[in-house]
Symmetry: C2
Subunit: 363 residues, 2 copies
């Protein structure tokens, strides 16, 4: 969190969907551009599981953000035209209140004392940010991956706020394969002796488990085709004496990702947000995805999927697009041929930017 | 190992490709049917990473084998017509000499003292089985997954023995994605404190790591489409108090697989065979897969792939088929539309059996 980070207070106590309560909880966000006098030029971004609210650089934080090429003067999310807001998810460890935050009773981290967090709670936190800025109708809400689920949940729970949505590489409800992999990631973390039943002292205590879980994530966030083209069977120049040390470049690439991740993300936060993705099911609202969409008031929607995504297959975005259309929204469904799989929204800007620009221009 | 298990002795000492030596090493196998007087009706099967030589039931072991519906009287591998042999891989823990076998010097398990094992060594072990039975030309050699690699290595290193081959759901060289997942599985095993640098006392000491690695295997051996159709988002009837306990049926399915696997397979054996698959590269022989195939003497080949296999994508079987054809073999390439992914050869018998029958009838 830097000088660019702002905070919105949630109602206290805040009652998460699955029970329990939070006192004095806050949600971190950043903004770019200026809210106009009629307060109708705001675009709100909700993120995937791990990013902070720092989606792009700005005068108070010059470091590049996770969606840097998309946000700023003259870019798709043009800060001369829009007031762009990016929200850090409730339950994260990047500024918003989460399991790593101090419990008000004793000042020690909540860890597993934190109440269960759902995508719906994250959506309510993001809606509170808009509300705290005096915004009652967003120009658009958008999010990739978990952020796409949060976007759907915002439209469901705050219909007047969310007339226009952009959902990317996500699902109305996770499929069995994605659930299996996330469940396994959570087990890998908990198998680390440093996890200690959730009573770890520092996130680095769980570095090994978090690193292994991250590798499984990174390996599946891209497509087998991309890994083949980028790394093939390229070897490392030298090996250490360990007979099972990394030999292939793909292995050292994952090693580097694991090192950057371990210690940088709170293990309990990771487990809470990962589980929230498994739980979310738009069909819980009325018995079907279409019924869920009928509780929204979406006027225009852009739904983007990527053909090479193995975690959130493009059929899942098609399901969202069809359900939104059946509920009366004007829907643009885009299946992009990027080879970068689930992560394409981060890197295949040449394909994502034009379809988002066209959608925003049409609002 | 049961009364049905036979053993062939390797030359002693046996010198594996990457160095070291084994004294008194043996290779386990089973047979069905009768070798004819001209010794030319033998079909030899080499297996995927984990199975034993018990591919089917027989008079000395009535328990069903891993390829039960394929082998026996009147079946595709008809024991009235063929002499069917299934070989347990050198380095495995299912009868053949491997890291769990007693070291001749001290009677303690080899563990990491075992020399590095390659697909080529496994192929030599299987060839030795044929040789010990007085067979100089097999009617056919076949194998799925790792067994497909072993089949290619047998044809490469023992051309007169292997005029006809059937390779299924494998690769001439593993791609980056498969390497990434196997590397991660090996790391998960070694992260288990019970691994103890390879000095575990009993395979159950590494049950947790082996179970997690197995789950990653099972999850990726089938296709996301099959998991969706079989499990969807179906829940378990009840949950235990652990906030991260399994909630979805797909999770408990993987739990059950992990329990069956842990303790039943030697952790060091698993690491050795997994690494052997990463290493194998037919292009090491002459600079390309095609050059590798030119060192074989394959007359007829059947190459089967499955469109939904994410570990060994069908393009990899196509590469094998094209290289074999370019090297002069008569090749039948079959891309099957099974939804069972990499494991289809085990379960989609209605699709696999007819194409294998037709191939054998045409020999």
């Amino acid at each position: 969190m830097t000088g660019a980070t702002l905070y919105a207070a949630l109602p206290s106590p805040f009652h998460p969907l699955r029970g329990g309560e939070l006192k004095g909880a806050i949600v971190a966000f950043e903004t770019w551009g200026t809210l106009n006098a009629t307060r109708d030029n705001a675009i709100l971004i909700v993120t995937g599981m791990s990013p902070s609210a720092h989606a792009a650089s700005g005068p108070l934080d010059r470091s590049p953000g996770w969606w840097e090429p998309m946000i700023g003067r003259g870019r798709t999310l043009d800060s001369d035209r829009y007031f762009v807001i990016c929200v850090n998810s409730l339950g994260s460890c990047k500024g918003s209140t989460g399991p790593a935050s101090p419990h008000p009773d004793d000042g020690e981290p909540y860890r597993l004392r934190f109440p269960a967090i759902t995508i719906e709670d994250i959506a309510d936190g993001a809606a509170q940010v808009a509300s705290s800025l005096g915004i009652t109708r967003l120009c658009a809400v958008m999010g990739p991956s978990m952020g796409g689920m949060t976007t759907l949940a915002m439209a469901l729970r705050h219909p007047p706020l969310c007339p226009n949505i952009v959902v990317m590489s996500c699902a109305a409800r996770s499929g069995a394969f994605a659930i299996a992999l996330r469940s396994l990631q959570r087990q890998i973390v908990r198998a680390d002796p440093g996890w200690n039943g959730g009573n770890y002292q520092h996130s680095m205590d769980v570095a090994s488990g978090m690193g292994l879980a991250r590798k499984l994530g990174v390996a599946t966030y891209r497509s087998p085709q991309e890994w083949r083209e980028r790394f093939g069977r390229a070897r490392l120049p030298e090996r250490d004496a360990d007979p099972f040390a990394s030999e292939f470049q793909i292995e050292s690439y994952l090693d580097a990702h694991a090192r950057r991740w371990a210690g940088g993300f709170d293990p309990a936060s990771y487990l809470y947000l990962s589980r929230a993705m498994d739980w979310f099911d738009l069909a819980d609202y009325g018995g079907s995805v279409e019924a869920g969409c009928q509780q929204m008031a979406v006027e225009q929607a852009l739904v983007i999927g990527v053909a090479s995504d193995i975690l959130f297959p493009v059929e899942q975005q098609e399901e969202i697009a069809e359900a939104l259309a059946a509920a009366g929204a004007r829907v643009d469904f885009q299946s992009l041929p990027s080879i970068q799989g689930h992560d394409a929204f981060l890197v295949d800007i040449p394909r994502f930017a034009p379809v988002i620009s066209r959608f925003l221009d049409g609002l």
